[in-house]
């Protein structure tokens, strides 16, 4: 079963064509990493997939439900609001800058969305949230506020917040780029644990060795196109395209 399918996605900001005919699909349990230089369009692709940006052209499909469908000219036509709200339940997103709600405690950050949006039972949600916090090693922080936590702790809370909605697929937009190397390690470990539990994930990252170790599929993007994709070890250790080689040479020591 394909969890996510993107067909022929195009996106421009004014005259600047950021994504050119991108297609990608993610199956259940798959971990896909997207790598590439800054400005290559990888974050925009993630933002299109999570509907923070609207695609100009192409299809966006979650579990068979169309969020956007290309018309005869290829222009993306989005479904009605209600359908889109339903589709949003399928995915979660972890931001580079965490974007926790600063006026809420850790517990409320995690529990409000399932209770308010998911209309779920309060006790049940709280119990699950405590489980998630335990898993993230943050059991003692449930009453803390985001400003009292380190960057790594905040990012773990934001992963817990996304997981509390029980998404079918979880997106990460450079989850460690705002963290120092020590804190980066703790986040990467959490993501590795999720991969071991067969969580379906798409990760935009600059951590090459991490991408190689954790994912089943790697996509290298540059200039708004997918330059090369395939098996992580193969692509990162023996890239075929010149552009990929040039990019990766700076990471390989």
């Amino acid at each position: 079963m394909k969890v996510l399918e993107i067909n022929h996605c195009n996106k421009s900001f004014g005259d600047n064509e950021v994504l050119k005919d991108i297609s990608l699909s993610v199956s259940e349990g798959q971990v896909v990493s997207i790598i590439g230089p800054s400005g290559s369009g990888k974050s925009t692709l993630l933002r299109c997939a999570t509907m923070l940006e609207t695609m100009d052209g192409g299809d966006l499909i979650y579990l068979g439900d169309y969020a956007a469908k290309a018309d005869a000219e290829g222009k993306a036509v989005y479904s009605d609001k209600e359908t889109l709200q339903g589709i949003k339940k399928h995915f979660g997103l972890v931001f580079q800058n965490f974007n926790l709600f600063p006026h809420y405690s850790v517990m409320k950050n995690i529990t409000e969305p399932p209770i308010l949006i998911g209309k779920r039972n309060k006790e049940e949600v709280y119990a699950e949230a405590r489980e998630l916090l335990k898993k993230m090693g943050l059991s003692d922080k449930e009453n803390a506020y985001p400003c009292e936590l380190s960057g790594g702790q905040q990012q773990r809370v934001s992963i817990a917040r996304a997981l509390a909605m029980k998404p079918k697929i979880l997106f990460f937009d450079e989850p460690t780029s705002a963290l120092d190397p020590e804190l980066t390690g703790e986040i990467l470990k959490v993501i590795k644990d999720l991969a071991a539990e067969h969580m379906t994930m798409v990760i935009v990252t600059h951590e090459m060795s991490f991408a190689r170790d954790v994912s089943n599929h790697v996509i290298f993007m540059d200039g708004g196109v997918i330059v090369e994709e395939g098996d992580p070890k193969e692509l990162i250790n023996n890239p075929k395209q010149e552009r990929t080689k040039a990019f990766l040479s700076r990471f390989q020591q």
Partner: protein
Amino acid sequence: MNFTVIMQQLFGGMGASLLIFVLTLLFSMPLGLLVAFGRMSKFKPLQYIIKFFIAILRGTPLMLQLLVVFFGPYYMFGISMPRWYRFGAVIIGFSINYAAYFAEIYRSGIESIPVGQYEAASVLGYNKNQTFFKIIFPQMVKRVLPPVTNEVITLVKDTSLAFVLTYEEMFTVAKQIAAAQTNIMPLFVAGVFYFIFNAVVAFVMERIEKKLSYYR
């Protein structure tokens, strides 16, 4: 007229000033939020109309606005208003003037919330109303508290402008007594009253600010 009678009259005026103050805040604070929404509307005509009215309300004296609200119905439309309209005009004039200021303060607060907050809420499935009332509004309140305190303190002193409609608030009463008695004491008493009033306002606002300082 002895001292106790003077004080009694002044206390009556204080009550009237307090009433203007409370009612103006009660109406102008929510109204300001509506005006701020209009000012930020994506519907351009509405945005420009609101912008125009804010410019008028901030660009002309409040005293003049009070006179227009009070005399306008009669001079412009020939409608004679009932007796209570003297007080009504004071409240309407103050409320719309302060709403214009509050609207711009709210707007600055709303626009200062990082876009990431909207994005996080959107991905989690919050709709527009939920995003505003659960996520944006509480954070806005904290951010706008210092400039709102400024406005509230100004309002305490501005209530004295109701004298142009000879509405008997504190300042009007004090001025009348001072003139009748050729004694400056009532004006000093009025000054002390405004000062204490504002000390209380500042204290209360500081408490609220402290209460909201649990997060950054």
